[in-house]
């Protein structure tokens, strides 16, 4: 678990470092190794990436999540724009409760962020297994209906990646 966190953290840190510096040199590499080691120590202390799964299936699920996410992001923007432009503001907002099956912190963060960036939903609070979501156009206010409408499309992929 610690090894896994350290490995992901080092790879991520090196990508970040070379992306920032934008060139390959010995100096960049040497300083990068020192700095990334310190950063990875912080990540290991909190065990951030401890539950990420490594398998071809997880990779495919990650890509699938990314595709769904980008699609939803664009859809959400068109949706919001239509609401903004329409002469009469048509909204029907509510805060609804949904349940999630995800257990790991990183998976919940990814879920909440994807919910916030998708059509008309905004994560307001999280308590245990319940996410409280402000929904700009609430079609159902009970837990099951809302869960099906909001969470289900991301959860399947995220469950494979983050568990």
């Amino acid at each position: 678990m610690k090894m896994k966190t350290a490995l992901i953290s080092v790879v991520l840190g090196l990508l970040f470092w070379f992306g920032l510096n934008g060139r390959l040199e010995t100096g960049v590499l040497i300083s990068g190794i020192v700095v990334v080691a310190i950063a990875a120590a912080f990540h290991v202390k909190d065990a951030v990436f401890g539950d990420v799964k490594f398998s071809p299936r997880a990779f495919i699920a990650f890509i699938a999540w990314l595709v769904v996410f980008v699609g939803e992001l664009i859809k959400s923007n068109i949706d919001v724009m239509l609401r903004v432009i329409s002469p009469k503001v048509r909204i029907n907002p509510a805060i609804v409760e949904v349940k999630t099956k995800l257990k790991t912190p990183l998976g919940r963060l990814a879920l909440a962020n994807s919910i916030t960036l998708t059509p008309g939903t905004l994560t307001t609070d999280i308590k245990g297994d319940s996410l409280f979501i402000h929904w700009i156009d609430a079609s159902s206010t009970d837990v099951e209906g809302a869960t099906k409408a909001i969470v289900a499309k991301f959860e399947k992929q995220l469950e494979v990646v983050f568990g």
Partner: protein, 233 residues
């Protein structure tokens, strides 16, 4: 009422002075002597692409030493005065779970970015002061996500004093080994222009300054936050 009139009078007077100043202003078309020397000779002389950095670190290095000293004094006084008068009895609301996870994920990356800013001070905009401020912002982020956490004062003090000592020693090494006196950067070879390990000592000096400023500003933030658990013991 008399006071208001007096204030207005004062502002109008200053406004007239500034009006005069603005009226006589015209932007220059060429540099003054010293500046043009810095801009035209500086890159070849010191090997640093960022002329502002070479002015701050080398040409006007003593000023920077004074500045760091003032910052240190301010941090010490803030810590002292806020320590004398504490009333911490209300527990703060915990940060949400998402914020905590986000902080655990982002905190090392922000530190990394801060290090990038001060280690590249001689090539890109930025340097020790900005990098130190970014590191202190990372500390602010961790304070926000978990306000009741105890802070590591000892580690900050150790980093601060070690980097301060290294800074002065590097400056003195410049005075002894190189030609131009205190804080000269040419005791190491200048290296290939435009690469990370170039410009002699400048990256080393700016890294040390960055660590020092970062730990000082973090200690200012932590003294403003105050330790709530310490008092109960």
């Amino acid at each position: 009422m008399v006071k208001k009139g007096f204030i207005l009078l004062m502002i109008v007077a200053l406004g007239f002075m500034l009006w005069d100043f603005v009226g006589n202003y015209s932007s220059k078309t060429e540099l003054a002597d010293v500046s043009s020397h810095y801009v035209e000779q500086g890159p070849e002389e010191l090997g640093a692409a960022n002329v502002v950095t070479s002015v701050v670190v080398t040409y006007r290095g003593l000023d920077t030493l004074g500045e760091v000293t003032i910052l240190f004094a301010a941090a010490a006084v803030v810590g002292l005065l806020l320590h004398l008068n504490r009333n911490e009895n209300e527990q703060r609301r915990e940060g949400s779970e998402l914020l905590k996870t986000g902080t655990a994920l982002l905190f090392p990356l922000i530190l990394l970015f801060g290090v990038y800013v001060f280690i590249n001070g001689h090539l890109t905009p930025g340097g020790g002061f900005q990098g130190g401020a970014i590191i202190a912002s990372a500390v602010v982020l961790s304070v926000l996500s978990d306000p009741n956490k105890k802070a590591g004062h000892t580690a900050l003090t150790v980093i601060e004093s070690l980097s301060g000592l290294t800074y002065v020693l590097l400056g003195a090494a410049g005075a002894i080994l190189a030609v131009n006196g205190f804080l000269d950067n040419r005791i190491l070879p200048l290296g290939e222009y435009g690469s990370l390990l170039s410009a002699g000592l400048i990256p080393a000096i700016y890294s040390v300054v960055g660590l020092k400023v970062g730990s000082e500003l973090s200690s200012v933030v932590i003294s403003f936050k105050g330790d709530s658990k310490e008092e109960e013991v």
